[in-house]
Symmetry: C3
Subunit: 570 residues, 3 copies
């Protein structure tokens, strides 16, 4: 509310600011152009269009800054040729690459006209670029690569604050109106670039459903339903198939667009989804149908799936503790639960492979960090920039962790005692708490991310089945049945939606704008310009944080105006 209130002021100030600053900037720009003219022409020819060439007429400056990244690329076709050259490299990776793009075309169905993808190469894996460039003269290649390394806007790590500043929405997946992005908005990007890490959510949803139906068919509490284990088997096979597909596709993205994956990794919300593949694998291992499964899984399974989670946790929890921009009070958001729930799922799997103590270890880690995440999210600190005002499916994540903790406790300590019960009841309360606010959940467009929000419901259903086993009565069994049916219905609906979006409307994978934000706001501006935008950007963030934004932004903009006036007069 505050942000909306003040945005006119802030934007108004922004435009004024930019105009007054332009004289300095253009002078500066001209100097910069002269100074860098030697090598920049070459670099920009390959990496970012012909920006610097076009920028010479100063009158177009203001316009140019807004469109250069979006359309600057479309002027010259030379990169198309460059692209075609490199995709016919003829080695093994090229054929893989082809299958990637053909898959993309098959899925998104743009069909006619090879898209001008030249600037997508900024997200390409560096080594691939090197390989592609091997056909170019070596001097140009060096210039190109070093240019990419030093100058390109897809640099090593986009700071966390930048994501918060440039994106919005509970999943930080929408680009703010005032932001440029690095890739064209008006054309379809390569399929792999549009394939987000969130797709592993489908595996989470299906894998947990397979476990759920396995539990329904085998649980004594629900034995009166006489559910055949075939359903579970079918779901498990489906989950496995989807897993293989998604994992393969994402591996391809990893091979060809590693820079895009880096950006997903640095995204404060998306990073939590990097736990999803491993959790999905654990789900598959836990839900392994008895037909295929030995009496006890081999511990190697546990190691294969949990060690990556553990390594990621060391990294993520370490970031929370170290005082950078990714501290917990900044980045905590409902999807942070994903980074905690892995511990509990890992504990369940550890119990399956017979490593009880290891499971208890996982459980304890999960507990400690769940506490932190839970309290932090409940407090809704003003520093928590990712927390949206409105509710969102992402809030269902709140249910996942206590449910999983409850099941895991039973798995590793053998009893559904007070601890397991308490976690289950907490999950139940949070579930009810979200259900009574169901009207808040309407009106969101479908996306693949929705899948991630089904598995909490499924986990809650599983926990309720465990509870019904422990306290068999009409109510508990009814609860287990009700929750199970709800989650299965949800998954079925999502499955149909996904198929419709994928094959009928062909809109399953829209451009993944969140990965293409610029590193700095208005990267094309000169040094002076950058400074002034920095100011505006800072004021904006400030406006969002504080309730007295109106006055502060007004006074600040006034004193900034004074500043520039003073500068001009002196």
């Amino acid at each position: 509310m505050v942000a909306e209130h003040t945005s006119p002021n802030v934007t108004g100030h922004h435009s004024v600011d930019v105009q007054t600053v332009i004289p300095n900037e253009t002078n500066n720009q001209t100097k910069r152009n002269k100074r860098m003219n030697n090598n920049q022409m070459k670099l920009h020819g390959f990496s970012g269009g012909i920006e610097s060439g076009e920028r010479i007429p100063l009158a177009n400056k203001t316009f140019n800054r807004q469109v250069s990244l979006g359309t600057g690329v479309t002027v010259l076709g030379m990169d198309k040729g460059f692209k075609d050259t490199c995709s016919s490299n003829g080695d093994g990776s090229a054929s893989l690459h082809r299958s990637g793009t053909s898959l993309g075309r098959l899925r998104d169905g743009v069909g006619g006209g090879v898209p001008r993808k030249g600037d997508f190469s900024i997200f390409r894996t560096k080594s691939t670029l090197n390989k592609q460039n091997s056909l170019l003269p070596s001097r140009e290649l060096d210039a190109h690569v070093s240019g990419l390394m030093q100058e390109d806007p897809v640099n090593k790590s986009v700071p966390a604050g930048r994501y918060f500043a440039a994106l919005r929405g509970p999943e930080l997946d929408e680009v703010r109106d005032s932001e440029d992005i690095l890739l064209p908005k008006d054309e379809k990007w390569p399929f792999l670039l549009r394939f987000p890490i969130g797709c592993f959510g489908i595996c989470l949803g299906l894998g947990s459903q397979a476990i759920l139906w396995g539990a329904i068919s085998s649980s004594p509490a629900l034995s009166f339903l006489h559910i055949t284990p075939i359903i579970s088997l079918v779901l498990w096979v489906l989950a496995l198939a989807v897993m293989i597909f998604v994992a393969t596709t994402y591996s391809l993205k990893c091979m060809f667009y590693f820079e895009a994956i880096r950006r997903e990794y640095f995204h404060p919300v998306r990073v939590n989804f990097f736990f999803a593949p491993w959790i999905a694998c654990m789900f598959l291992a836990i839900g392994l149908p008895p037909a295929f499964a030995p009496a006890r899984l081999h511990p190697a399974v546990w190691c294969a799936f949990v060690i990556p989670v553990f390594a990621l946790e060391l990294k993520i929890y370490g970031q929370w503790l170290s005082g950078g921009k990714r501290r917990l009070c900044k980045v905590a958001n409902p999807s942070s639960h994903l980074s905690v729930v892995g511990n509990f799922v890992g504990a369940i799997l550890a119990a399956k492979v017979g490593w009880l103590e290891v499971g208890r270890f996982m459980w304890a880690i999960g507990l400690a960090h769940y506490l932190c995440v839970f309290v932090t999210l409940y407090q809704r600190l003003p520093t928590n920039e990712a927390l949206p005002k409105e509710l969102h499916p992402v809030y269902s994540m709140f249910v996942a962790t206590p449910s999983a903790a409850s099941i895991a406790w039973k798995a590793v300590y053998g009893e559904f005692d007070a601890v397991a019960r308490s976690f289950f009841f907490i999950a139940l309360f949070l579930y009810i708490s979200l259900v009574v606010r169901i009207e808040f959940f309407r009106g969101f467009r479908f996306s693949v991310a929705w899948w991630s929000y089904t598995f909490p419901m499924t986990t809650a259903s599983l926990a309720s089945i465990r509870y019904a086993e422990e306290a068999p009565c009409f109510f508990s069994k009814g609860l287990a049945l009700g929750l199970s049916m709800t989650s299965s219905t949800m998954v079925a609906l999502l499955f149909v939606s996904t198929l419709l979006h994928a094959f009928v409307w062909r809109s399953l994978f829209p451009n993944d704008l969140a990965i293409a934000i610029t590193k700095d706001k208005n990267t094309s501006g000169g040094k002076q310009g950058k400074k002034s935008t920095k100011k505006t950007y800072d004021i904006k963030r400030w406006a969002k944080q504080a309730p007295f934004s109106l006055v502060s932004s007004i006074t600040k903009s006034l004193s900034v105006d004074k500043d520039s006036d003073g500068h001009l007069t002196t």
Copy 2:
């Protein structure tokens, strides 16, 4: 300390600001008056005195703004007539209303001279107003009602931030000096308007005492005292009688001054007291003397008392989580414990009716939210605007929740084990921690709210009796006895104080200023005026939040001065 330090600066700035802005404002005001002259005369004649009539001489503007709400009402007596007309409506509700006011007169003893209550109608239940207005010509009625809906300052919901801005004190019950209120400060309001939700605290105090004395008389740990159960019975009957009285009176307030109750509900501290009636009822049910009680209470009792608590919790906890102004990091204050303790008391009652699993459910909910509240309160985040610097009886609430959690654990899990012990010991430590700071608690004026602060002591005594049963030794028995005597003494003292205040000094129910704050600061100001006040208000809040308030307010006021200068010169 910071706030005090900077307030001179801020206030100084405020007055300057307002004066420089006045020229614009008065112009604006004139326009507004002209524009709205058609319908405003009618509206204000009924709802808010003759404000608009008086406002025409512009020279009085500055003075007028400060006194219009406080004294404007006393000029004309027309609303007295209006009031008398409507209270002799002659239907059933009118007679009820009469009994309400006569009760009020009986209690507050103003006696002579019917107070001019015309403007108290802004807090009246809307439907009552409609009914009263049925005697007026229909066109005027429509104008009146729509005016009330659109223009009156008692609108749907006063934002949470407004309460923090306009009120102060640990219970947010004192109006800041700079604030107008909607009702006259210098006369007694109707009794019902002065009857706050906090009165249910008396029921909490007496109900818990009844339970305590029941436990003392029946506990094997204290059997050496040979306390007769009659004491408990007498206390229980007294508690029941007070409960009936308070509930009836508050129901009357609910019927006649529903808007006032809305304002209590939106009050960030008071809202927690909406749990008090139900908790008091639960206390009565738990403390039901064996003479009246069946072996096991009927679960319907539980449903009747706990379902409202549960519904309220879904609402309140949901507000904490959703990102509005009532998020936990803003509104957390010691009385938030009241919204958590209901779960534990509900769990005890559930055990009494034999619903162990339901009790465990309540216990788990309580635990989860207790954790959040406890950590948040201990952190004392700077965003926690309601937390006073000094200690206050309200801090005794800290003791209530762990004590209740301890008793509840024993009730629902059957053992006074490590969990119950830990909670009891935490309560004990917090108790000691407050007792050693007893000197901080002196010097507060008595109010009904004090009653709410006795039940934590009683709960702690109860928990210590349970502990003494579990670990019978000299020390534990002595502790139980000591705590019980302390809490009983406290309640006895408060009881006498209350009686004295009620019947001798007739000062038990002072005007409840907290409900009568204006929606916006200076609602009578024009648009420009509002803007400038907004600034000041924001700076004030800012000054309170941050340790470097001095410099920021100075620089800000300076740049604002520059601003207005610039405005005036250009």
Copy 3:
């Protein structure tokens, strides 16, 4: 990163600000000098050198402000005589005092030339000063003492914010460049003034090692090592000896430089180290070799060591809760674990003396506050000014508390069950989490404080031995062995380092700058000067807190410049 980025701006502004303000200030200063000339000459002669005498030539003002405290003292030798006079007072305390200083000379080995310690007397115990001054004429004495009380910069309590503003580093032990200190930087201070409370860390480290080797030699889990209990005995005796030495020295400091100890107590990080002596004593009591020990320790031991801890806790936790500058969200830092771990060690000791219930009480207190500290530290709130960006040995404290909680649970509840396991596993995870960031720990200069960071490792080792007893397997035994060896190696290395620093390089006790910060920034400035420095200081703190520091500091400094311009022109 933010702070570094903006510091040039801020400092730049600072210098400008000071220069523009000087004219006013010097005028002011002259007036002040005149006004205070009567009594200040006398006072400063004793307490702070000849500042006021030197300050008369106004042209030297700017230079003088920076050097007056550092060098002003060295000009006159009169305080040397004064010092010699008072140390030959001839009573008992004087002989104690002598042993203190001679000890100092023995250790620091400056040897030749008695240092001019006149201005060190500002840190002297007030009663000592009185006694020393008994040789002076009584009128001068009164002036002196009252001057010390009212005017001296070592006043009752330096506010917490001042420590954060003037110091930096994870232990707040380095003075910011822009800060003056009260004592000369370029000469060695008296040994006692350089002997920080952190020296008790050595006792913590050695005492816990004694316990560890006792456990290694007696634990069935590690019986295959056949470790002789002699090692433990030797370590215990060593720990006791060091304890006696450190305690004696610190008692001397307490007697002679009580004001310095006050300042250590008000230091937001150091205050936690006031728990160290008692915890070290508890370690000695717990590790008491069976040769000396009765079957069960007498509870008086517990009382002697735990009651001070408990009293300190009531104080410190009360400060967290009360809304001053020492609230938890401000002062929480890894060393806050020290104020929590005492509870768990106290619980272990309570179990040793047979007071199980008291132990459980301590455990519960520890748990409640551990939760708060853990969550607060993990959140890294922006208000947590003491938390450094980089990691530091102090982070090892994170491991201490859960380890101790684990051992204590086993001690007071008799089982190494789920709770003890969970705490142990949490400690283990945090340990791993720090070990994988080992590269962050390099590059810190050795200090006595390092000792405090060894006992967490030792505690973790002890917990792992308890765990290996509970779950004896290859892995758990290996873990116990590995952790024990690591911690012993660490302690051995530190021991050697300490000996080298103490006797070879004679650099063990550098000047303890942290206690000598001025109460206000630039105390020598006039009123105007103070105001402007206040601004700068506030801006700086602001710059550190917020990510948009650049713009805000720019705008603020601009408006401040405007301000001073405006002042000068009007």
